[in-house]
Symmetry: C2
Subunit: 555 residues, 2 copies
Amino acid sequence: MAKKTSIKMIPLGGVSGIGKNMMVLEKDNQMIIIDCGLMFPDEETPGIDFLIPDFSYILKNINKVRGVILTHGHEDHLGGLPFLFRKINVPIYGTKLTLGLTRIKLNGLAGTDRIEYNEIDPQKALSIGGFHIEFFRVNHSIPDGVGLIIRTDIGTIIHSGDFKLDHTPIDNKYTELHKISRAGEEGVLALLCDSTNAEEAGYSLPEKDVGKTLLDKFDKATKRIIVATFSSHIHRIQQVLDVSAKMDKKVAISGKSMLKTIKISSELGYLKIPENLIIPINNIDDLPIGDIVILSTGSQGEPLSALNRMAMDEHRRVSIMKGDMVILSASPIPGNEKAISNTINMLIKQGAEVVYESIAGVHVSGHAAQEEIKLMISLAKPQYFIPIHGENKHKIQNAQIAQSMGIAADNTLNIQNGDIVKMNMNVCRISGNIKPKNVYVDGIGMGNIEDMVLRDRKMLSKNGVIFVALGIDINKKKIILEPEFSMRGMIFIENINTILNEGKKILADSVQNCFEDNILSKHRIEDFLLDRLEKFIFKKARIRPIISLKVLVLH
Amino acid sequence: MAKKTSIKMIPLGGVSGIGKNMMVLEKDNQMIIIDCGLMFPDEETPGIDFLIPDFSYILKNINKVRGVILTHGHEDHLGGLPFLFRKINVPIYGTKLTLGLTRIKLNGLAGTDRIEYNEIDPQKALSIGGFHIEFFRVNHSIPDGVGLIIRTDIGTIIHSGDFKLDHTPIDNKYTELHKISRAGEEGVLALLCDSTNAEEAGYSLPEKDVGKTLLDKFDKATKRIIVATFSSHIHRIQQVLDVSAKMDKKVAISGKSMLKTIKISSELGYLKIPENLIIPINNIDDLPIGDIVILSTGSQGEPLSALNRMAMDEHRRVSIMKGDMVILSASPIPGNEKAISNTINMLIKQGAEVVYESIAGVHVSGHAAQEEIKLMISLAKPQYFIPIHGENKHKIQNAQIAQSMGIAADNTLNIQNGDIVKMNMNVCRISGNIKPKNVYVDGIGMGNIEDMVLRDRKMLSKNGVIFVALGIDINKKKIILEPEFSMRGMIFIENINTILNEGKKILADSVQNCFEDNILSKHRIEDFLLDRLEKFIFKKARIRPIISLKVLVLH
C-alpha cells in the first residue's frame, strides 16, 4: 500500500474578517482553490475601493493549480478573480448562474477568450486535481449556491459555502442535507462552516416571509412604492416582481448593477419576469402614481447609489413625493449602519414613509443562525470543526456551538488568513503561517498600500493639511521667493492669518539659521524648517495638521 | 381679564439627529433653556471633536434668558455649557449629581466663580421666568435625572427628559409616574417625549438584570475580569463593584473619565464603594489573577480609550493574558458598531474571552421602548405629541406610537432644529424656522466650519493630496525654480514618477502658454496650471487627488 500523504489547507482570505473569501487545498503536488472574493473597505482603509487576497502563494505554486471552484456568485466569493486572472489562467468551476456572473466580471480582460469555464451540475461529482468533489445545493441570498464534500484517501472535508436552511425556498431547491448526512455516516474529517450569523440565536426565517410582508405593505401603500435591495438577491427581486404583478402595478428599475443582474439572471432562467410588468424608468410619470413600483439599488446607503440620489433629491428621474413608500429590503452590513440611517432620515425629510428591517419584517438573512449550524454539525458529525467566513468574534461563537454539541475544544480550530493547516487521518493542526499581505485596490492602481498611506489619509481627514513653499538662492544665501501657505481641510481658526504670518517670520529666521550653520542641503533645510513650523503651529493652535514643506532651490 | 399670550418653543438641537439637545421656551418676553448638550461627530464630519447648538438666537435675546435647566448629567445634555458660558452667564438649575458634573465641566472657565448654581429638589416646584415647573424623577442610564411639568396659564407642557421605566431601580428611585398622571388628569397641552428607542418593541429591561448576568459571568471566570462600560453609568458601575465585593475580588480602575465620575459620584453619595475594594491599577500584578477586576472605559471602541489600548497591546499597565474575560457592558451607539467589532476581534486575538451585548445580557438600555412610551402617553393624555431626542426615523416611529393610541396625526409634530413652535390654548403649530447653523468644535477653534472644509477632508481621506510648487520670474518671463511635487495619502501607482515627470513638462509648457497669452497674474497662472494638471493626472491614473498648486513669483 502506498504511503498516504497529507492535505495542506491555507485560507488566503475570509477567516480574519468578513470578505475576500479564498481557500487553498493541496495534496500530492496538486492544488485547488475554493472562491476568490473581494472585501469592502471600512474606516481603517478610507478611500480604498476594496481589498483582495494576497495571491503570492498561488503565483509561487502556479504549476500545481488545477482550478478555481466557486461556491456562489457574490462579490466576496468571486470579486477577486479579475485580479487573479491578470496573472494566471486556470479552469473555473461554478454552477450556471455563478458562471454567468463570473463571465461578466472577466469580460474585457486580456485573454478572456482562453478561459476554461466548467459548469457544475450539483448532481454530478467531479475529480479535480486528485480531489473527488461532490456538490450539495445550499439556500442563500443568491440562487445556485453550493457547498463541497471533498473526498480524499485521507478523509472527507466538507466546505459549507455560505448557507442557510429554507424549507420553502423560492426556487424549490433545498439545501441538500441528505448528501451531508450520507457523508456524515461515512465519516467526516473536517467541517469548514460559515460563521457569519453564528451570533444569532434560533433559526433564520424563510425567504417567503418577506414576500408576505411585501404584499401587506404594497396593499397599504397609496402612492408610489420604492423597494431597495441587493442587486444580487434574485429571489428577493423575484418576490418584488411577483407581488407587483399580483397588485397590478408596473415596475421600473433604477441602478446599473440591478439592471445588469436582472438581465443575466432572467436570460439564464433564474428570474421569471411577468409579461408587461417592467417599464422604462423614463416612463414613470406617464402612469397613475398608485401603479408604480421602483426597484432600486442603494439598500446599504451607498453614496452614489440610486436610492441615495433620491434621498438627496439628486436622482435624474425620481423626485421623492409626499406619501411615497420606501422599503429597504435589506439589513445593514456591519459598518453601514450610520450611512443607512442617514439615507432613511433624508428620505423621511423628503416626505417618504420609510419601512426598514428594524421596524418591519422586510428582510431575512441568507446565513445560518445557531440552530441551523447545529443541524449541519449533527449531520456531518465531523472530527474537526473549522469556522470560516467570519471575524474572530463570529468564529469563536461558531466554535462554541460545536463545543456545545460535544466536539472537544482542541478539535475546533480558530484559523487566521495565511495559516497552514495540515491534515492527516487523525490530525488537523496549524503548522505555520505564510504571512499574506494586505492588498488594496484603488482606481487603476493595485498593490500593497503602505500603512503610512492609510495613516496619512486618516490624519488628513482629521486634521487637514498645510502646504508651504519658498524659494532660496543657495549661493547668495538668501530667500528669493517668500514662503506661501495654502491649507486644505483645515478648520476655521480665528487668528489663523496672524499665526501664519508669524510662521513666515519663523521660517525666514530658520533659513538664516541654516545658512549661518552652513546647512545647505535642500533636504536638511526642509527638515529643519518643518520641525520648527510644526512645533510653532501646535503651540499656537493646538492642532497637528499634516504639513508639507518645499524649499525650491536656485543654485 | 388680561389677554393671554402664547408660548414660543424653539429646539436649538436634539430633534434633527441624536445629540446636542437644547430647547428654548419663551413667554411674555421671558425665556428658559432646557439642556445644552453636544453631539459626537460621524463620518460626515471627520476629525471634528464635536458639534454644539448654534447659540445665535440666545445671544440675540440675551436679556430674556432666566436660566438653564438641566434634565441630567450626560454630555449630550450639558456638554455645550462651556461654550454657551463663554458668552453669557445665567442661573443653572439641576439636581445634585447633575450640578456636580456641571461644575467639573465649567471649572477653569473665566468667571466660573460668578455662576449661580441652583440645586433642584425634585419634590419642590420652581417658578423660573414665569414658568411654574414641577420636576419628576426618571430612570435613566445616569442617576438623578428629571423630567419637567411646565405649567402656564396657556396650558401644561411635559418634557420627558431621557427616561425609561425601571420598577426595581438600583437607587430605589422610580420614575415618578404619579406626577405625570396628576398632570394628565388636569390636562396637558403638549408632551415632548424621548424618541431614542421608539423603534424598540416591548419594554426595556431592568438594570438589575445586568447585575444577575454579571454575577453569573464573574462566577464562570477563572482569570482576570475586565469590564468596560460608560463612565457616567453610575448604577452599572455600582453593580460591578457590588458583584466584585460579593465574589471577593479587587477592582482597579483604568481611564481618566471613569476615575473622575467615580470620584465625584461617590463624594456626592451616588456611588457606594465597598471598603477595601479598590486597588491602584499599578498593583494588579501583586494579586492572584483570579482576584482581579479591571473597570475600564472604552466600551464604544474609542481609539484612545483604556480598553482599546489593551486590545492593541499598548496599555501602560494591562497586557491581555490568555483566559482574561472582557465584558463589554454597553451597546453600540449607532455609528460605533465597526469600531466595537474591531476591538472585540483584537481582544480575542490577544487571547481574551469577550462577552458582549449581542451574545449575553450584559447591557440594558436607558431609554423607553414602545410600551413604556405608551404608558407615558396614556398617563399624560396630551393634546399634542411632540417627539424629541431623535433622528427623523425615531421621531416618526414615536409619532406613530402616539397615533396608534388615538392622537390625531395632525396633533403629532415632527419638529426640526430651529423650528419655531407656537402654542396657544388650543393650537400648536410650526410657524417658521430660525435656520440655525452647524457649529463644530475642533481643538481650540470653534466656529462654523464651511461645508467646503468637510468636503475637503473627505476628499483628502479618499484620494490623498498632491502639492506642486514652482518659481517664476514675471519680468524675464521664465521659470526660475523647476516644479516640485510632493504627495500625501496617495496610493501606490506603478508609474507615478513617469506621470509626474510628464506633469512637469506640461506645467512648463503651460507657463509658457500663459506668458505668450500675456496672462501674468499669479492667480490666473495658478488656475490655468491647476486645470491642466488635474486633467492630465486623471487621464493618466484615473484618480482625482486634491491638488494644491503654488506659483511663487519673483517680480
